[in-house]
Amino acid sequence: MITRILVIAAVLVACAVFAIWWRRREGRLVPAEGFFEHADVGLQPRERPAAVLVEFSGENCAPCTMVESRLHKLAAELPDVRVVSIDAGERLDLADRYRVRRVPTVFVTDPQLRVIWRASGVVSEEALRGALLGPDWAGRPHPGGVDAEPVPLARLRSRDRSRRRSRAKQRTPARPPA
């Protein structure tokens, strides 16, 4: 009897360890590499949104719906953020290219469609907001490549443009007086 109770206790402990491990990696944003083509995500070649949230979803996937609604909520809050949903079953080429092993998988890209983060499973709204708005919580630069303080995404591009302009001015030698 005691042996049997010990076996059950050992099984329960193993289950708890597995559950903790699973929960820790579930929906966690991790730094990633690669880039999407504009055509992959249905964007025009010249379009440069502040960030694109690419979600790989699938048939019979209840968590995908939950994640999708979170992404759309964020996109409604943060202007110039695009949400792209890709059916992993229909776009097997993309799922293979980005090593999507399970759905939902979410990618966060910068304006050049370079992948900055990825998360498999149900990613929280807070984590996505942190990835989009900073301050960076994992030692990575902000997707927009700007300072760490939270900056509304809509302003990222204008800030970038004004920075580039000021840098260009600094580089241009002053015209000699006539």
């Binding site: 049997r4 059950i8 289950c15 559950a19 929960r23 699938g58 019979n60 209840a62 092993r101």
Partner: protein, 145 residues
Amino acid sequence: MATRMIDRNAHRWGAGISVVVLVIAYVANLSALVMIIWVALGIGTFFGLRYSPLGAAYRIGKKALKLNIPIVPEDEPPPRFAQLMGFAMLSLSAIGFYLLDNRVMGWTFAIIVAALQTLLAATGICVGCEMYLFGKRLTANRGAA
């Protein structure tokens, strides 16, 4: 075609009920109790989860105790596949108990099912559902190739 929906909470609570029964069965060395869960999983697998006695037990308990647990809709195929997995494992368990007279084999498969059901009941992690979705993508991959 729209797939049939089930209540995710009924699925989880049903798993909890079977864990309790399987643990009692193992501690008290009552293999007949394992067969009750085997039959329940078989009914859920072959007739649909709406007919599962475990789900029915949850619904009756919920009504009797007036529990305010919300209905969380979920597609049926992945949990049904998970039930099939459990049914297959308990079939091996039954073979161990009654055909081969190998109780170690019987209890090993019963404990594996209990462990998987514990994960589902306590955390919502449905290993069978994940396997179903993974397999579906894999077969789609082959079809496309």
